[in-house]
Every structure is written in C-alpha cells, then in structure tokens.
Amino acid sequence: MHIRNQKDFWAGLMFMAFGIFFSGFGTRYTFGSAARMGPGYFPTVLGIILIALGAIVALTALAPKAEEHKVAKFSWPTIFLILGSVVLFGALLNKLGLVICLALVVIVSSYASHEFGWKATLINTVVLIVLCLVVFVYALKLQFPLWPTFFGA
C-alpha cells in the first residue's frame, strides 16, 4: 500500500497511540456517572475522542487524492547532542555543580553546529558561565550547588 501523506499518516497513528494510552489507563480510575463524575470520566472520554481524531487524520492521509507529503529526515546527531547535553546537566548538577555542568552543556551542544570550532566554543563557554553566575546566582540569588561536592563544602 502506498501512503501518500506520510506526515499525516504518522501523526494520526501518534494521536491514536496517545488516545489508547489515556483511555486505557483511564479505566483504572472510577468512571462515575455524568452527574457524579469520577476521576476517570474526563480523560477516558477525551482519550476516545483522540483515538477517533487520529483515525480520521491517518485514514485521510491514505486517500488517493491526498497530497504527497514525506516526513523530513530526523537528524539524530543533532537530537542526541542537544538533548544529551540537557540530560547531562540534569544528571550531573548535584554532583559536579553548576559551573562544570554549564561548561558541559555549552561544549556538547556547540558540537551540533556545522560551524563548530574549539576556540569560539571555549570563549562562548566562559562568557555564558560568567553571565549565568552574575544574573542567576548573584543578582537573582537562586540556589544552586556551584562546585563539585568533593571540593570542600
């Protein structure tokens, strides 16, 4: 079978999957009646609506007169570097402190650019760390672990 509008087809399947998730797990909670709705009522009904909407989107994508749309390629290295740098920040903040974590975010994420250069990246790292320390730590007085825990404090 030829899928003409691949964007819509996959979007429809995604909506259906979310709908199945919410209505499926929704049955675990009390459904109640219209007059006395339980916690499961609203999400279960909405989940079913979402399944229906997803089905319509996916089916119209298969229609012979649907416009041709391909899903653009996912650029996995970009996703990996950008989101990876964020996850790294979350994972290491309490162990290594803010300064080192910021440096990690900037260096790892900068590598995703096709114009990556070490010198520029390091300058950017220093500038951003100083800026963040001044704005968030000094001026706004937000609480962070600043340095690795094994350095004193």
Binding site: K7, D8, W10, A11, M14, F15, F18, F22, F25, Y29, T30, A34, A35, R36, M37, G38, P39, G40, Y41, F42, P43, L46, G47, I49, L50, L53, I56, V57, V71, A72, F74, S75, T78, I79, I82, L83, V86, V87, F89, G90, A91, L93, N94, L102, V105, V106, S109, S113, F116, A120, N124, T125, L128, C132, F136, L140, K141, L142, Q143, F144
Partner: protein
C-alpha cells in the same frame, strides 16, 4: 470616564512607585517597576531582532527568574517581552529579509524592498511609529473594555465558562495555520496532559504511576520550553542560514511629508484590524499582520507598488501586530482565558504568584491590574526610543551567528527549568518534551494548541464536572442557557466557515506565504 482616570492613576502610582533596592551593599530608592518594564522591553526587542528565538520560548525561559520578583514586576517584565518582540521583529524583517518573529513575516515583503532601495531608515521609523500609535490605542482599549467585560464574566456560571473555553480553543485552531483536525487533536492531547497529576475533586492520582514528581502534574515550564525552545533549536540547526544585512545603509531615519501622508491611513486601518483580531481567541500578532497586509493591498491606491517597497505594506501590518499584542491581554485579564500561546504562559506566570487569572483580578488586585496596563503604555514609549536611536546596536546583534546563540538558549532553559522546583526530574522532562516537540514539527503538528489545551485542561474539566453536577447529569445544560448556547453556536459556526471549500482554499493560500 472618571473611574477610568482614577483607575489609570492607580496604575501610574503602582508603576512609578519608588522602592528600596540593594545593589553592592548600598540601598537606593528606585522606581523598580519602571525598571522591570524597561528590562522587559529591552529583552523583547533583543529576541525580536534575533531570528529563531520567539517570545514563547523566551517567556518560558524567564518565567522561573520572575519568582524572585514581586508579582507586578514579574508580569510587567513578561508583558514587555511580548510587545517588545513585535517592535524588534520588524528590524530583522526590514534589514535582513528574515522575519525576526512570525508576526513580521509580511513586513519582509515591502520592508526589505524599501531597504534595498536605500530607504531602510524610513521603513524602520514607519514600523516604530506605527507600532507606537497602535500600542497606545490598544492599551487604551484594554483599559476601557476591561471593566465592562469583567462584569459580564461575573455572571458566568460553570456551563458558560466551559462553552467559552470551547469557543476559545476552537477559535485558536481555526485561525492558526495548518490542518484543522490535527490542531484539534493537539488540543485534546494538551487537555489530556493537563489531567496528569492529582485530581482536585477526589484526590486520586492520575497517570502519575507512583512517580512522586508527577503528583502535582507536569510542569508547565517543562512543556513550553521543550516543545518551543528545544525543538526550535534542533529544527533551526538543520537549516543552513544565509543573511544579507543592510547594516551601513541605514541613513535618513525621518520619513518625508509624502511618506507621512501615505502611512497615515494604513496605520489607522492596521490599528483597528489588529485590535479586533487581538481580542479574538486564537488571534494575536501574527494573524493581525497577515490580515492587515492583505487589506492594504486591496484598498491602497498604490497597490501596484506592493512587493516593490510600498510604505503602506510596512505601516499597516506593523501597526496591526502591535495593536493585537496589546488587546490579546483583554480576554486573559477579564475572562481568565488565554487567547494564544504567549497568554497561556502569562496564566502560568500569574498562578506562580498565586493570582488566579479572571475577572476578580481587577477587584482583588487593582494595583496589579492597572499597573500592568499603564506599564504597557510606558513600555511602548520606551520601545520607540530603544528602537530608533539605538538601531545601530540591534543591527550589530544581527551579525552574531546562531552557533553562539543556541548554546545560550539551552543554558538558560536548563537553569530556568531546574529552578522551578530545584528538581533535576524537571530537566529530564523538558528534554523528553523537546524530543516530542521535534517529532511534532516533523509531522506538521503545531505546539501552540497543545499548550493552550494544557493550560485550560484542568479549568475545563472542573467547569465541565461542576455544570453537570448542578444539572444532575443532564447534558442539555450547555444548550439551554442562552449565553452558553450562543458561545457554542459561535464555535460551531467557526468550524463550518473554515470547512467551506472556498474559504478553505483561501485560508491555505494565506498560510502558504508563511
């Protein structure tokens, strides 16, 4: 009229009040709210000028930073970012032919052509003056309509509120670009996301799967930053950029007498159209500028000049987007219903400070309400000064490459989302939403309806349950109460109108230009 003046003077009192401020160990007395207004306008201009960084992502990024500020100061600053971005966006559109914001997409067409003909300065000042005029009118409308609209809102019961939210959400997608049904599905998904967490009526924890961090629901900041901030960075990185900047051609800022004559009517028309579209759900700055451009093209005597540097093509849309940016605060402040994604973030900002948006804000918190309105007017005045004489600085900013910019966005997002609850779990959630947002972009699904649904979800469920409790399970309650029926009919009419074949093709054509 007298009460309006009294109200406005309350506002001026709040904005201009001097407060003690400690810097480097010295305490000085400063009008701090005025300072926050300036900072907001400045940041707004900055992100407006920079393509690839929109107000939604920026406000999400800075939301946590406003915890440290008093509620009025925080809201003044966030509002400044939104309307400031409308000013800044036109600079990039005119000088680089890249829209700094989606609301200045149409300004590229004639603004850039004016720049190529050596009239960049005139285009810039037309945009700024038009925006200023429209901003003032929009703010006045906000001040004048707030009280009567809030009185209407007080008469609303849960059924009316539910129907109003249906109309708001439907309006938001009808006027948004792209596929209608996908946008509705995104709203439903957003509503479902809002359900996650503890059910307020029964205390049952829903979809939290015994993860303690999910008991209070998904962080609003995590969704906004992930879907708008991170996903935007990743999609931007995939495109190679090409910029041609007219940096040294900005001479003679002042429009001639003939220019003034030609921009007068378009500014007025743009202001009116923008003010109306701003109030409508789903309206807001982008739609207003598109509408104003098509209107000018139709009615102008010089329509042949459009696309080749017609000053009307800059004056109309730029006035419209700024008027809309101001009037879109009306539904938020009077009804508590956000008409677009930026206003949805403002709801988040208000709830962070324990202010429930809605008609009661005006009576329970008059200094906050009127202070915010007055700050918008002052902010618009500051923006003219920021944008015209200081244009050189903004132009220099345009030469900062994206590879320096996006790590900064990531860093601010990480810090911002962490500080909401001092929890690294929120950081992971944001990364997950970043991936989801990226998938949405690839599949042509928009993030704005999702965010609106997410914000309105809990409110909608609450009103839905309450109306049916009161009617003892009779669904006809939504159709027998006249206001509720009217709102639902309006929502149905909107869907029908858009589904009509002739309008459908027009609508697709309008968004094609984006």
């Amino acid at each position: 009229m007298e009460t309006l003046i009294a109200n406005l003077s309350t506002g001026f009192g709040a904005v201009l009040a001097f407060e003690p401020f400690t810097l480097f160990g010295m305490t000085v007395s400063l009008p701090l709210n005025l300072a926050y207004c300036f900072i907001g306008a400045l940041i707004g201009t900055l992100i407006g000028v920079l393509p690839g960084l929109g107000p939604v992502a920026t406000i999400a990024m800075l939301l946590p930073a406003t915890y440290a500020l008093p509620p009025l100061g925080g809201l003044i600053m966030l509002a400044g970012i939104y309307y400031g971005a409308q000013y800044g966006g036109s600079t990039t559109a005119i000088l680089v032919n890249l829209p700094g914001e989606t609301s200045s997409v149409v300004t590229c067409i004639d603004g850039y052509q004016m720049a190529r003909r050596g009239r960049a300065g005139v285009a810039l000042s037309t945009a700024a003056l038009g925006s200023f005029f429209a901003g003032c009118v929009g703010t006045l409308l906000l001040a004048a309509f707030a009280v009567p609209l809030a009185e209407v809102a007080f008469k609303f019961g849960p059924a009316e509120y539910f129907s109003l939210m249906v109309l708001g959400l439907i309006g938001a997608v009808v006027l948004a670009s792209g596929s209608l049904i996908k946008a509705i599905a995104m709203i439903v998904l957003g509503l479902l996301g809002g359900v996650i967490g503890t059910d307020v009526n029964t205390g049952v924890s829903r979809y939290a799967f015994d993860i303690p961090e999910l008991a209070d629901g998904i962080g609003f900041v995590a969704i906004a930053m992930g879907v708008f901030g991170f996903a935007e960075v990743m999609t931007n990185l995939e495109q190679k950029e090409h910029r041609e900047v007219f940096t040294n051609k900005v001479t003679s800022m002042f429009p001639t007498k003939d220019d003034f004559k030609r921009m007068f009517a378009p500014v007025l028309r743009g202001t009116v159209l923008g003010s109306v579209l701003g109030i409508l759900p789903g309206g807001g700055a982008s739609l207003a500028s598109f509408g104003a451009y098509s209107l000018e093209k139709k009615v102008s005597k010089n329509s042949a000049e459009f696309g080749k540097g017609a000053i009307e093509g800059v004056a109309g849309p730029e006035s419209a987007n700024n008027a809309a940016a101001q009037t879109s605060f009306i539904p938020l402040l009077t009804l508590g219903i956000p008409p677009n994604a930026v206003m949805a973030l403002m709801v988040g900002a208000m709830t962070i400070h324990n202010i429930q948006p809605g008609p009661q804000v005006m009576t329970s918190n008059p200094t906050l309400f009127w202070g915010l309105i007055v700050s918008m007017w002052l902010g618009n005045a500051m923006l003219v000064i920021l944008n015209l004489p200081l244009i050189g600085i903004w132009v220099k900013l345009l030469t900062v490459p994206y590879r320096f910019l996006y790590p900064a966005i990531l860093v601010f997002c990480c810090i911002g989302v962490y500080t909401v609850n001092n929890s690294t779990f929120d950081v992971y959630m944001t990364a997950a939403f970043g991936l989801l947002g990226y998938i949405f972009t690839k599949l042509g699904c928009e993030g704005a309806p999702l965010l609106l649904g997410f914000v309105l979800g809990p409110m909608m469920e609450e009103n839905f349950r309450r109306s049916l409790l009161l009617s003892r399970g009779d669904f006809s309650v939504f159709f027998t109460r006249p206001i509720s029926l009217g709102l639902l009919i309006a929502a149905a009419a909107l869907v029908l109108i858009v589904a009509l074949p002739s309008i459908k093709s027009k609508r697709e054509e309008a968004f094609q230009e984006e």
